[in-house]
Symmetry: C2
Subunit: 150 residues, 2 copies
DNA sequence: TTTTAAATCAGAATAAAATTCTTCAAATAT
DNA sequence: ATATTTGAAGAATTTTATTCTGATTTAAAA
C-alpha cells in the first residue's frame, strides 16, 4: 500500500479548497522546491487520492439556487424496480445527488432548481413519470450553513 | 446584467466536470480559437459564474468513506442558541455540509467518517459537546447512486 | 440600403507555468 | 563502513496561458 505523509496531506487539503495554485506557490507553502511538489501531486493523482479537478459554479447565477432534499420510497423492493429507478434518476438533471439509505425511505435525493415553481414542475413532470416511485417526501432548504464543496 | 450565451454554457458544463482541459482543447470542443475561449472563461470567472476550482479527493483513501445524514433539533429556537450551534458545527471537520431546513427538524447535516465506530465517536464526543442540540436522528448511506460533485 | 460603432474572432507574439532531467545529499540496508 | 535507495534542488526544456494586433461580423443608426 502506497504511503502518504504529512506534506502530502497538506497539499491535498490545500488543493481541495483551491486547485489553481501554481506548483511554485504550493512549494512555498510546504517549504519545498517545485519539482518534488510536482512529483508528489502526480503521485497523489496516479494513486487515486485526487480523483479529478472541477470548477464550482454559482447555482444562483445559473437559476439553480433553490435546494430540496427529497425522500423516496419505491413501489416494490425487487432488483428490476431498483435498477429502473437508478437508470431513470440518472437522466434527470435537477437531481444532483442520490443515495440509497437506511430508515423509512429508500433513497435520499438532493434536488437543485430555480424556485418553488420549478420544483413543482420537477415533481409533477419529472418524478411523476418515474414509474418505480411509490411515495415522496420533500424537505426544503431555507439556508446553506456549511458546504465544503460550495 | 451580464449576458451568457450557448457557448458559455457549454464551457461551464465542461469545466464543472473537468477543469483540467487546456484552453486549446476547450477551443476545439466549442469550435473557436484559443483567445476567445480564454476571454470567455475569464469573464465567467470575473462575473461570478465560476466561483472557484477545486480538487476532488477520494473519501475512501482518506478514511472518510462512511456517510451519514444527521437531522438535528435545537433545544430552543432563539437567535443565541442558533448562532452558537452554527459556530460550533463550523469547527467540526466530520460535518461536510449543513442546511437549515423545513419540517420536523431544524438542520440537516452530511457527515463523513471512516466507519460506524468513528461515527459513534463523532456523536458522543463531537455532537455530545454541542450544548445547543436537543435531539438527533441518523440516516445511514448504504451506497452513493449519483453525485455530480463526486 | 449604407454607414458607423461595438463585439468577437483568428493568429502571431510573449510571458508564465508545467514538466523533465541531472546532480547531490540524506537515510537505510548490507 | 560501504552500497543502495529515496527524495530534494536547480537548471533546461516543453507546454500552456496570456496578451496583442488586425480582420470580420453583427447590430444599430442614418
Amino acid at each position: 500500500m502506497e504511503q502518504i505523509d504529512e506534506i502530502d496531506l497538506r497539499l491535498l487539503n490545500i488543493l481541495h479548497d483551491n486547485s489553481k495554485y501554481t506548483v511554485k506557490e504550493l512549494a512555498k507553502m510546504v517549504n519545498l522546491s517545485a519539482s518534488p511538489v510536482f512529483e508528489r501531486i502526480k503521485r497523489l493523482e496516479n494513486n487515486g487520492y485526487i480523483k479529478k479537478y472541477i470548477a464550482l459554479l454559482d447555482p444562483e447565477k445559473l437559476n439553480r439556487g433553490f435546494i430540496v432534499f427529497c425522500n423516496i420510497k419505491l413501489k416494490q423492493h425487487d432488483r428490476n424496480i431498483g435498477n429502473q429507478f437508478v437508470s431513470d434518476i440518472m437522466k434527470i438533471e435537477e437531481i444532483v445527488e442520490c443515495y440509497n439509505i437506511s430508515g423509512d425511505y429508500d433513497f435520499l435525493m438532493k434536488v437543485s432548481v430555480k424556485d418553488m415553481k420549478h420544483y413543482q414542475d420537477f415533481v409533477f413532470n419529472k418524478l411523476g413519470s418515474v414509474e418505480s416511485i411509490g411515495s415522496t417526501q420533500s424537505t426544503f432548504v431555507m439556508s446553506e450553513i456549511k458546504n465544503l464543496y460550495g
